[in-house]
């Protein structure tokens, strides 16, 4: 039996649901085609009469705060992934809900991690109805097997801001974990044992949720500065013994990959950018925290030193390598979206040119501009890419939903988008005829760098022209696929179920693709 009968083909020819968890959904229409009308969502008007006049909003426990927020059946609860795999809050919230006998909650995290595996029992016993947010590892597997009652909804970081802002999803209670807070609710991620750098992913929640709780293990006297989260939005503050596991929040050190194959990809990517004229005075770039991306940043730095090139800014995921570039003067600014290691946290606290950003400043599509489009080149990953350069980041070729979208879709609006990927991973080809799930339309993907050749999107005639005569192995994407097929064999078509288990949203809130139940 199909869980979702109301489906239609969107502009990419993908079957998508027209209704998600009882609410109508708009199919993807193309880039920039869907423009919603009306006004942004607004939370209820609060009155100071309902808040302590001395500004001390501290209550004794998280349970108390949740009760006073009126936690009840069917509510939407949001949390954030600043503490990454060291998050101690999300599971506690649902432990409390279970204790209170509350049912059918919607969990709306900015991302999920393996540490959230215990929530599966609450999906099973009805405490949680469904999840709208990224699905990593165990939760993704659970969802892929069709065990979740509602439909999962995956959004990018920017798409999450957009959905909250547009009222597509209404948050009843936002629980914001912070490294540092005052009793009024001013909070940041810079100080304390659970310092995570910044709290940008919680910005929309603080602005639009009906009730906002800030939880910290480092309560300081008013004022807590800088106030990355403004206490004026906050209903309750809670001091706990431990809000996160420090060593799982940020790694002590991030290390560049030692894999020779990944280093080769990184080297090709950096060399490509140099030969394409992208690495030049005043340029900007964004590279993620994966081993290959870190290495790309390192090779960028090498090229910049060698040719005396000075960049304007780098967008992070910051880490010690980016901080080194800032401190060495190779770049003027780091515009940081999340901080990956202790060096990043230190730098953000000390260096006025290491700035924190949010999905609003960087990624929101329903806005009057965002930073992603200003970036000259962004280095991204993918699990699969098809011959039209459409790319997948959420599912694997066996159909399993295993990753979130993160800022990936939003970054596609950078001036040049480069995806370095191995041509195949343990015989699993990356370039295939049709991706399992389309997360990003190929017209926004410019270059695929593999260890066996580099394919430039035929739309980018400028890049093709610039790389003429290059010693880099420039090939067509068809040639790359043929090469993989020769080595690995031509893959058979995977057989997927006929039941939709998750919807993938595009940056404008439309549905770009569906994820199907695995057989």
């Amino acid at each position: 039996m199909k869980k979702y009968d109301k489906v239609t083909k969107n502009a990419l020819g993908r079957l998508v649901p027209t209704e998600i968890n009882g609410k109508p959904a708009v199919p993807y229409m193309g880039i920039g085609k869907y423009k919603p009308e009306g006004r942004k969502y607004a939370p209820p008007i609060p009155s100071l009469a309902d808040y302590p006049s001395d500004g001390n909003k501290t209550v004794e426990s998280l349970a108390e705060a949740l009760k006073r927020c009126g936690l009840k059946d069917g509510m939407t609860i949001s949390t954030h992934h600043h503490f990454r795999n060291g998050d101690l809050l999300a599971v506690q919230i649902f432990d409390i809900a279970k204790e209170m006998g509350v049912k059918d909650l919607v969990w709306f995290p900015s991302a999920s991690f393996p540490c959230h595996e215990p929530l599966i029992k609450y999906l099973e016993d009805g405490t949680i109805h469904h999840i709208e947010g990224s699905m990593n590892g165990p939760l993704g597997k659970y969802t892929s097997e069709g065990k979740m009652r509602g439909l999962a909804v995956l959004r990018s970081h920017g798409g999450r801001y957009q959905a909250i802002q547009d009222g597509e999803i209404q948050i009843d209670i936002a629980v914001i974990g912070a490294g540092c807070s005052d009793p009024f609710g001013n909070a940041n991620g810079l100080y304390g044992p659970s310092a995570s750098g910044l709290l940008g992913f919680a910005l929309a929640d603080s602005q639009y949720a009906h009730k906002v709780i800030v939880v910290t293990d480092n309560m300081v006297e008013f004022p807590c500065t800088p106030w990355q989260i403004q206490g004026n939005y906050v209903d309750f503050t809670v001091k706990v013994d431990k809000v996160g596991i420090p060593e799982k929040i940020v790694s002590g050190t991030t290390e560049v990959t030692k894999s020779p194959d990944r280093l080769l990809l990184a080297e090709y990517t950096a060399q490509f950018c140099y030969e394409a004229g992208i690495i030049k005075d005043g340029f900007s770039f964004q590279a993620g925290a994966g081993g290959t991306s870190l290495a790309v940043g390192n090779y960028f730095a090498e090229i910049m030193r060698k040719h005396n090139i000075h960049g304007r800014f780098a967008r992070g995921g910051s880490n010690k390598y980016l901080v080194e570039m800032l401190e060495e003067g190779l770049i003027d600014y780091i515009l940081d979206g999340q901080t990956f290691d202790l060096e990043g946290v230190r730098s953000m606290a000390q260096n006025p040119n290491h700035l924190w950003t949010s999905p609003f400043t960087s990624y929101n599509y329903h806005s009057k501009g965002n930073f992603a489009g200003i970036v000259d080149v962004v280095i991204l990953g993918a699990t699969e890419i098809d011959l039209n350069f459409n790319a997948n980041v959420v599912t694997h070729s066996d159909g399993y939903l295993l990753h979130g979208i993160g800022g990936w879709q939003n970054c596609l609006f950078s001036k040049t988008v480069i995806i370095p990927v191995p041509l195949f991973r343990d015989r699993i080809p990356v370039i295939i005829d049709e991706v399992t799930t389309i997360c990003g339309p190929g017209e926004l993907v410019d270059v695929i760098v593999t260890e066996r050749g580099i394919a430039i999107n035929p739309k980018r005639t400028d890049l093709i022209e610039k790389l003429k005569g290059s010693k880099l192995p420039i090939k067509t994407i068809q040639e790359l696929k043929a090469e993989a097929d020769k080595i690995c064999g031509v893959p058979q078509k995977p057989k997927l179920g006929d039941e939709i288990i998750a919807a993938i949203k595009w940056v404008d809130g439309t549905v770009i693709d569906s994820v199907w139940k695995v057989q």
Partner: protein
């Protein structure tokens, strides 16, 4: 004694691009295949067919087969199946993957051998992308990098790799086991276009003669005309004493290498960064090689994370007269190439010499001179090699002479 269950291959969480095969011969019931593969969604059908075809090739009609696959390429699955079958039945049949046409090339006696990348002969995951890092040679190692009980499996992996793995133009090398044991390795490599054989722990010209005798036999038997070069490795005190005898033992000995781990053990000492303990040995090997008119190849540098120390080692090695060295990690290749390459100073000098030679030839002069100095033909030859290499490595443009003349 005959057994009816056998297995081959590797398994475990860290194993990649490999597989583990268990076959139990049964008396009836046909082939029962249990396939556990991480690529079953994409290649399940073709893997099943490969297993059934392979068993039928060996005439096995009834068996329980378990294939635990971690993304092994077909040529590797074939090697694992064959290794299993060989334990169960006596067979002369070889289950050969298709020979890739791009692997059909020969190499020259004096071609560059700056870098040669060692790959363990029973670890396919390291082989697949090796050629992409552009080493001058790729060594599939049957000797020290393979556990004793895995040697028969490794022979088949190496054979199949020689046929089906793209070497991307790198010289195709195999390090066989020490002579005489290594003679058994030859039938797995000679018919499959091996370019060069490394001869470990070589201690006499006689070992080279034994080896060549067997190689010639196999070449004749398989109708092979391609040259097969030898690189004896001196790894003992006795080997050092016999270095020249070995270097000049046969026409197909193209380079003489030194292996310092075993040598220092033989000396009863340890390798140090200063390498004073091995100076005599290295110097002797260089001298013997040059006396025999062949290349001298240095040992590997084992700290794969210290590129600066590697660079210093390469510079010293080149200064001693070595023509190349071994690598155990692909990232070492670039450093080795850059530092064995001619320096800017060497290139400038070579340009002048070659230019003077071309000038003299054009003018019909028998004697080449630069300023007041006469230049001997070997000097010209060496300069020409430096120029070719510099062009090859992109250090100077191919039309360097035009540029030079217009600048004057």
């Amino acid at each position: 004694m005959s057994i009816n269950v056998a297995h081959a291959g590797n398994t475990g969480d860290k194993v990649r691009s490999d597989c583990h095969v268990t076959i139990e011969l049964t008396s009836s019931g046909g082939i029962e295949l249990e396939l556990n593969s991480k690529v079953v969604v994409m290649y399940g059908d073709s893997i099943k067919k490969l297993v059934l075809d392979s068993l039928s090739f060996f005439g096995i009609e009834n068996a329980k087969v378990n294939l635990d696959d971690k993304g092994a390429l077909p040529w590797l699955i074939m090697a694992r199946i064959e290794a299993t079958v060989r334990q169960l039945t006596k067979t002369d049949k070889e289950l050969l993957p298709k020979f890739l046409p791009q692997n059909k090339y020969s190499t020259k006696k004096d071609q560059y051998r700056f870098s040669r990348l060692y790959l363990p002969g029973n670890t396919p995951s390291l082989m697949i992308n090796a050629g992409l890092h552009n080493p001058h040679g790729i060594i599939l190692d049957l000797e020290d990098a393979v556990a004793v009980d895995k040697k028969p499996e490794a022979q088949l992996v190496v054979r199949n790799a020689l046929r089906a793995l793209d070497f991307y133009g790198a010289e195709r090398m195999v390090r066989i086991n020490q002579i005489p044991k290594g003679l058994d390795d030859l039938k797995y490599i000679i018919p499959h276009n091996v370019n060069l054989i490394l001869v470990p722990k070589c201690e006499s010209a006689d070992q080279i003669k034994q080896l060549n005798q067997k190689i010639d036999e196999l070449k004749k038997q398989h109708g092979i005309n391609n040259p097969i070069w030898l690189m004896p490795i001196i790894e003992s005190t006795l080997g050092v004493v016999k270095a020249y005898e070995i270097a000049s033992a046969a026409e197909n000995v193209v380079s003489l290498a030194i292996g310092l781990e075993d040598y220092t053990a033989d000396l009863g000492t340890q390798r140090t960064n200063e390498a004073t303990e091995s100076f005599l040995a290295r110097s002797t090997v260089v001298n013997a090689a040059k006396a025999a008119g062949i290349q001298a190849i240095d040992s590997v540098f084992s700290d794969v994370s210290d590129m600066e120390a590697l660079k210093q080692t390469v510079i010293k090695s080149k200064a001693m007269g070595f023509d190349g060295m071994g690598c155990i990690h692909p990232r070492q290749i670039k450093v080795i190439h850059e530092n064995f390459a001619p320096t800017q100073e060497e290139i400038e000098k070579a340009k002048k010499i070659v230019n003077a030679f071309i000038d003299a030839t054009e003018k019909g002069l028998g004697v080449v001179s630069l300023g007041t100095k006469m230049i001997d033909p070997p000097v010209v030859k060496r300069a020409q090699r430096s120029i070719d290499l510099a062009v090859n490595m992109g250090l100077i443009p191919i039309n360097w002479r035009e540029e030079m003349l217009t600048q004057q």
